[in-house]
């Protein structure tokens, strides 16, 4: 950063940034922590280490990571198809990808449950091979995949569009095979975008409530997610306990997202 910036208005825009982050993120979040601070450390520990919360945490973070991972692989494929091939209906397909963003999550949850329930269109075939679709941890995974998928496509797609064919051509001319070109030339360029997509899908999945509660079955120790436990605490009018679970969740999420960001920076630096 030199003394003279090319673009003017740093002071003003920085001020607006801080103000905006303050009112839409920092103030609500600090209110949450203040509420949670109404309970002492011993209570925090008791709530956060209760078997039910731990089981729900395992499912929430586990299913979110699994769903985000699957979304990343398939999202890459879908983005690839949308960017690289011309075929009739491509625009429509492109628009369909965004639908999970627009659909109210409760609607998504109810629809997915109907389809994946043991009596549903897909659920009954799954049941024949001994897989329970809805009302199982697998059901949670299905819902989270649904809502997280567009994030990956939408973050990878623009990078792919910018890439152009020159890189591949150059790689081919220099004697690389198809697989080598993909592995050594294309993939490294896409990695940062893939990680961003994964992170967004993961973060979104952790906080998801609307769609999951319909498909999960909400069985304690088996298919409860953390947001449901927060609601359960609210039902008992225990705002502090709810805030403690929420804060714990937020801290873990922040830590994970921070790690992913670090990883991304390292990778960015390597590919430069």
């Amino acid at each position: 950063m030199g003394k003279k910036r090319v673009i003017p208005g740093f002071g003003l825009s920085f001020g607006i940034t801080i103000f905006w982050l303050g009112i839409i993120i920092l103030i609500p979040l600090s209110a949450l922590f203040i509420k949670a601070a109404g309970l002492g450390p011993a209570e925090w520990w008791r709530i956060l280490t209760s078997p039910r919360v731990l089981a729900a945490a395992k499912l929430t973070f586990g299913a979110s990571a699994a769903a985000a991972a699957v979304s990343t692989v398939l999202g890459l494929l879908v983005a690839w198809v949308l960017v690289r091939y011309q075929f009739p209906g491509r625009r429509i397909l492109d628009a369909i990808v965004d639908l999970p963003f627009a659909l109210p999550t409760a609607v998504a949850g109810i629809t997915l449950t109907t389809i994946y329930a043991p009596t549903g269109w897909i659920g009954k075939y799954l049941a024949e091979i001994g897989i329970q679709g809805a009302y199982s941890p697998f059901g949670v995974f299905i819902a989270l995949t649904f809502i997280g998928f567009p994030f990956v496509v939408r973050t990878v797609q623009p990078v792919m569009e910018d890439m152009g064919a020159e890189l591949e051509e150059a790689s081919a001319i220099l004697g690389a095979g198809r697989w080598t070109t993909f592995r050594r030339v294309i993939f490294p360029v896409l990695v940062p975008a893939l990680i961003t997509g994964f992170t967004l899908a993961f973060a979104r999945a952790i906080g998801e409530y609307g769609s999951v509660i319909f498909i999960s079955g909400n069985l304690p120790m088996k298919t409860e997610i953390l947001p449901l436990l927060i609601v359960a605490q609210l039902e008992q009018v225990k705002y502090e306990a709810a805030a403690v679970i929420a804060s714990g969740m937020l801290l873990v999420s922040f830590f994970l997202l921070f790690l992913i960001n670090l990883l991304q920076r390292r990778l960015n630096w390597q590919t430069r």
Binding site: F101, T119, Y135, R154, I213, E235, A241
Partner: protein, 339 residues
């Protein structure tokens, strides 16, 4: 890439904002009342509102408009605490109105003594809904723990209706095992082993049972059971267990709000209207049990008399029942082996 990302973020952060309805009243002319109620009363109060408005106009008091808000009982109570301008609340549990009195002091602590019959103009109970022909032969609470019987009930942690179901089961078991607490808890444990889905609300369980055809028996509000019969004719049957619970959904004027809105008199008249013959008939028509004995008798074929326990007598009131059974570490948590 930037703009796409921003759009992505913006869309992702779109969340449902709690709808804040305004209830206002003007000095003469039209009065507006807001009735904050729970889930399955929608159709009942739609009829009540029409009838009440007609009487109000006939008495020369002008026009009155009543808006309804429905949702899970506990959630509705929280909305009122957080400032939803309800003039009256008509909820599923007395404890939900207690919470409004305690946390927000919007009505006096003795609100339940303001109207007759514990401020519950109609009652209901908990019954079983089974598949046509009752293929699993579910007759009573004891049959619910049999191998291979799927039981559908919502989660008592998040659903008011589910708490009535739970207490009814508990009351039966307590009688069956003559009060032996370990045996009662074992029964509850076995019962919940047969529950494949715990929806967050009573309506959710109804959908799971009736529409998705999950489970063999649904533990349900009596009025909801008749609604299922109407919606899915010929698919289900109602079974009355040997013992159930008297559910008293209470009503109250949210005095602090009505004073601000200048609607206190109208709100009181609205709730008193629920005790009139006309409203009691409507309650019976919607499968709630009217308090008026003569009118209840008219509906006895549909709403048969069965032995009913009450929360006040048999569980020492809602506050105690809530603490013993549903709070963290209560019997429900014990049944699931979480402390």
């Amino acid at each position: 890439m930037k703009s796409r990302l921003i759009l992505t973020f913006a869309l992702a952060s779109l969340s449902v904002l709690p709808a804040c309805k305004k209830s206002s009243s003007t000095a003469g002319g039209t009065i507006e009342l807001q009735n904050v109620s729970y889930d399955p009363t929608r159709e009942f109060y739609a009829d009540i509102n029409t009838a009440f408005a007609k009487n109000w106009a006939a008495d020369g008091k002008g026009e009155i408009k009543i808006t309804q808000s429905h949702g899970g009982s506990g959630k509705q109570a929280r909305a009122v605490i957080d400032g939803q301008p309800a003039d009256v609340v008509t909820l599923a549990l007395a404890s939900d109105i207690d919470v409004i009195a305690q946390k927000a002091q919007l009505l006096p602590a003795d609100w339940q003594s303001k109207l007759s019959d514990n401020s519950s103009p109609y009652t209901s109970t908990v019954v079983f809904v089974v598949r046509k022909g009752n293929p699993k032969a579910v007759k009573d609470w004891g049959d619910l723990t049999k191998e291979g019987v799927g039981v559908i009930t919502p989660n008592p942690k998040t659903s008011g209706g589910a708490r009535w179901n739970y207490l009814a089961a508990w009351a039966w078991a307590e009688k069956q095992f003559t009060g032996d607490q370990t045996e009662v808890l074992d029964y509850i444990k076995a019962l919940f082993k047969n529950v494949p889905v715990l929806d967050t609300g009573a309506r959710g369980s109804t959908t799971t049972f009736a529409q998705r055809k999950i489970g063999d028996v649904l533990i349900s509000w009596e009025n909801e059971a008749y609604l299922i019969e109407k919606e899915f004719p010929g698919e289900t049957e109602i079974v009355y267990p040997s013992l159930s619970i008297l559910a008293e959904p209470p009503v109250a004027v949210v005095e602090k709000n009505t004073e601000k809105n200048g609607t206190t008199a109208a709100a009181r008249a609205y709730l008193e209207f629920l005790y009139t013959d006309e409203a009691q008939e409507l309650a019976g028509k919607h499968f709630y049990r009217p308090r008026n004995a003569a009118i209840l008798a008219k509906y006895a074929a549909k709403l048969p008399a069965i032995p009913l326990v009450t929360v006040d007598k048999d569980f020492g009131g809602w506050a105690k029942a809530q603490k013993t059974h549903f709070d963290d570490g209560g019997t429900f948590d014990q049944a699931y082996g979480t402390k």
